[in-house]
Point group: C2
Chain length 349, copies 2
């Protein structure tokens, strides 16, 4: 990710700064500010990356172009879990532990359901009071959707911006709505599933397919009266994991316990992640997974774009409801319906 030498232009950040002096904030300002680890400019750059305005997208891509050589040097950790699993409390505790080890920690969030108005809730700094005040931590609320890849693109690019700003550890939290776990899995190196114990039926319903995405399952709230049931759940989950192919080839997904409240198990899960990282870097898997993720991201953005083009086509929009109806009532075969839609789409205006 750091082949600055291949660039076509040799414009440096400071030259960009000179060139654009008269504008309010130039792309050079953003680049220099992020590389200079200026928190205010970091936030503004992320806002630029999150913008849906065409001019901002163009500007953001130029800024990213200059930041790219400085990206890739973090470990990206995804964190998911059902509501009530204690994600905020865990991130507060885990983040503080990492900051106190000297790491710079960025906390991002993915919420595909977030609109502009709801976007700020998930990443609300009041959820992580201590961590949000730590000078090594940076907490960013979740982006809202929009054009060009939406929430997924914005979070990926925010990861890159944070890496360029010197963050060593990026925690990407997901609310677990819709396809958000898969989205986060596709942009992180290590994926952590938080789980809690509960009585009987409450255990039902680990979301379909999510366990298979995890590099570790961490049973939170393993304290006080809960401790024994957490240990039991750990044993059960380890039994189940024997039946599932691991999320990452060559790595064995296991269950662990922790208490975000009293700190037990927090160091242990970090040790697990370090062991994972060390092994994956040695085997080349770490790099290969990132390459695969980047290419996959490109193709999924292309696909989003193709779909957007088709479904924003006026005549297609007009035709779809009745086509759906004809297919459902059996008066048109699906293939015929698709062939007809294709013809509408191909017909040049």
């Amino acid at each position: 990710m750091s082949n600055g030498e291949k660039r076509k232009t040799d414009t440096t950040a400071s030259e960009l700064f000179q060139k654009g002096r008269r504008r309010k904030k130039t792309n050079g300002d953003f680049v220099a500010g992020v590389l200079g680890r200026n928190r205010t400019i970091l936030s503004q750059t992320i806002t630029l990356v999150e913008s849906n305005l065409i001019d901002d997208i163009t500007a953001a891509q130029e800024v990213l172009y200059h930041l790219l050589p400085h990206t890739g040097n973090s470990i990206r950790i995804g964190i998911t879990g059902v509501p009530g699993a204690g994600k905020s409390t865990f991130i507060e505790s885990f983040g503080m532990f990492l900051c106190n080890l000297g790491f710079h920690v960025a906390v991002l969030a993915i919420d595909p359901s977030s609109s502009v108005s709801k976007g700020s809730i998930l990443g609300d700094k009041t959820r992580m009071e201590q961590l949000s005040r730590h000078p090594h931590a940076f907490i960013r609320p979740s982006a809202s959707g929009g054009v060009l890849g939406g929430v997924g693109r914005k979070t990926r690019e925010t990861i890159l911006v944070c890496e360029a700003a010197g963050f060593d550890i990026i925690l990407v939290e997901t609310v677990g709505v819709g396809q958000s776990e898969g989205m986060v899995r596709s942009m992180v190196d290590f994926f952590l599933l938080l789980q809690i114990t509960g009585a009987g039926d409450e255990l039902q319903g680990i979301k379909k397919g999510v366990m298979e995405l995890a590099d570790a399952i961490l049973i939170n709230k393993a304290d006080g009266e809960n401790k024994q049931s957490a240990m039991n759940l750990k044993a059960e989950l380890n039994g189940m994991l024997r039946y599932l192919k691991p999320a990452t080839d060559g790595w064995t997904t296991r269950a662990y316990t922790c208490s975000a409240i009293n700190g037990e198990g927090i160091k242990d899960i970090w040790d697990v992640i370090c062991r994972f990282q060390e092994g994956a870097k040695k085997s080349g898997l770490f790099h290969r997974q990132r390459e695969r993720q980047t290419i996959h991201w490109m193709y999924s953005m292309i696909n989003d774009y193709l779909k957007a083009r088709f479904y924003s086509h006026k005549e297609i929009q007009q035709a779809l409801p009745s086509v759906e109806q004809s297919v459902l009532d059996g008066s048109v075969s699906v293939t015929k319906a698709v062939v007809d839609l294709m013809e509408i789409f191909e017909k040049k205006g």
Copy 2:
């Protein structure tokens, strides 16, 4: 699925037959032959549906148009399992049981990896010697890929043709390669995962996400020395299933045992499927699931078509390798790469 009254034309199958008398085999011949349960014409109609020639596709769609009012009256059962799980033996035994109850049973297969030359292997009638000779059974080898939705489209349309030909039960087998389980799951009412016992490590590796697709897990080869370990596995799987959301809302996926060799458990699994069908029809879920599947199929065919259009674009094909490289070496951001590709694609020749 049977709203013949809404059709625009009133051409009957026999009129079509008259109209096309001079051609070698008319669409009317196909329609009349299938509805008349003529095995030879049924096979030829499926061959027509599987053809990649534009003229055949058009003809097949006209034939399907006339068959559609006669479709939908079967139960569609998907069957998957690792190689060695005894899929062929199970289908032979289960199919014979159903035929002897008086049902007409069609056996289809999905193999996304099949080419024209390999296509015949999976469905080879020699795999199911008894069943292939039963007058109530019809076994069709797996289709090979090609245009317009490929294997998935062909199998779906073959299901419809078989239903129009009066088959009550359609068994769709998958080899379990690539995304084939998801493909089969999306076209059947009930999805059965065959499993076998094995010692220790052999149990590892139920394919990611497949257990979550299943409406029942059937442990085959529960006979002789294997019986006890099959019972143990059943208990373990039932334990695991408690943690997973069921494949079908309102239905509890459980593990069962059977022996395709001695016939034990074969009637029981049929009872399970009947119970499922009865409940799902009562609740309306059966119909809703089929509607959802049909619409989903339409949208996935549209998406296939959009992708085919993009990736067959000459300049895109030429540009892609170097774009991929630039994205991987970090000299271009993914978003910029996609924007550039879009421009190439939009540029009218």
